[in-house]
Amino acid sequence: MIDKEVVSVAEAVADVFDGATVMIGGFGEAGSPIELIHALIDQGATDLTVINNNTGSGEVGLAALIKAGRVSKMICSYPRSTNSTVFPDQYRSGHTALELVPQGTLAERIRAGGAGIPAFYTPSAVGTPLGEGLERRTFDGRDYLMVLGLTADFALIKGRVADRHGNVVYNKTARNFSPLMATAAATTVVQAASVVSAGELDPEVIVTPGIFVHRVVAVANPAHESALIAAGASYP
């Protein structure tokens, strides 16, 4: 019987290796898999390339991972937020490199990586500093840039409900990048507030089909970044 559930967040991230590329779902705090990120901090992998729209807030979740010195490169669209002080320090000190990608191009590059599409053309960033160095090509009289698909070794994702086949549904705008990242990683790990038996999710409403998911772990009451920050928390 197919059962992708693992018993702990520690087990779920046990094989993340030094130098790995890790996609982390979420836009701001919505969809941020805080418990998986904290387990990754405990696990110790370092020299990570992390792909996320942002760079975290406060000193919990993604920001804590960066603060712990584990991230050698961020690929993101918006590394600047309220309460985002950790990344600027690591960036200015040269510890963490930055690849800045327009948000829509970032999303589509991840989708392409998961879809077996090595490259596509986009009109975004033509004529701007973020288009420099990219190949330019004209279609129907308009200029476009060629950008490459993005893949990762791991994706860490937060769902609302998952079943043991790995099917996932999300909560509101916590969906964001996660369904794309699930397709683009060699190993996709999902934390969900509840894990149910196959057949309990309506096949019409599944957002991420189980084929994209390798491990599921229940985190019954996931923390919210803003609540942790308001409480003055930092991790570890």
Partner: protein
């Protein structure tokens, strides 16, 4: 500069209100962070706009009542919002299918600089040591059918934001359709900046003095 002491121009709310007047009923609209967000509070009587936020929601509603929000129902500015009847959630790729694919009717953005050929700079001053951050701005200007700006006419130091060519890093080339400032409404046409209307009590000369490129008067014929 003789008018200086008497000219105040439009407030932030008035700029947003003036902009909202030009948005057709039933439009699908993306509002940038800052003054553009205020447009939502000034929808003209009898019209309905559907708001898109690039983090995965169409049909965005106003902020929730205190304590009633969900930290996972937020807008692109990462503030808690609500979902109106008829709303839909979707992933980030689908959200930018809407943007890049030209499905949104209109976006309203802020500006650092805009050039007379419609180039926009609104994501970085290029200052050394600053953390660059672009978000969805480049995708919005490249994909949305009509791009409006709302911005103060000049910087806090009184420098023009409407210029011959931008000195800040660009967001997009030739993408701006119309600009709402505290002093005027200005179209970007083939010949440059064309004044559509002046704010109450503001003269053409006053605006021209505060603009870094020639203005075409409202009644001049153009082919824009």
């Amino acid at each position: 500069m003789s008018e200086h002491s008497t000219v105040t121009g439009l407030t932030r709310d008035e700029m947003a209100q003036r902009c909202a007047l030009d948005i057709p009923d039933g439009s699908y609209v993306n509002l940038g962070i800052g003054i553009p967000e205020l447009v939502a509070a000034h929808v003209p009587e009898g019209r309905e706009f559907i708001y898109h936020t690039e983090n995965g929601l169409l049909g965005m509603g106003p902020s929730p009542e205190p304590g009633a929000g969900d930290p996972e129902l937020i807008n692109a500015g990462k503030r808690q919002v609500t979902a109106n009847p008829g709303a839909a959630y979707f992933n980030h790729a689908d959200s930018f299918v809407m943007i890049r694919g030209g499905h949104l009717d209109l976006c309203v953005l802020g500006a650092l600089q805009v050039s007379q050929s419609g180039d926009l700079a609104n994501w970085s001053t290029g200052a050394p040591g600053a953390i660059p951050a672009v978000g969805g701005a480049m995708d919005l200007v490249a994909g949305v059918k009509t791009v409006y700006l709302i911005t103060q006419h000049t910087t806090r130091n009184g420098e023009p934001k409407l210029v011959e060519s931008c000195s800040f890093p660009l967001t997009g080339l030739g993408v701006v359709d119309r600009i709402y400032t505290d002093l005027a409404v200005i179209d970007v046409v083939d010949e440059g900046f064309q004044v559509v209307e002046l704010s109450p009590g503001v003269s053409f000369e006053y605006v021209q003095e505060r603009t870094g490129a020639p203005l075409i008067p409202a009644d001049a014929g153009t082919c824009g």
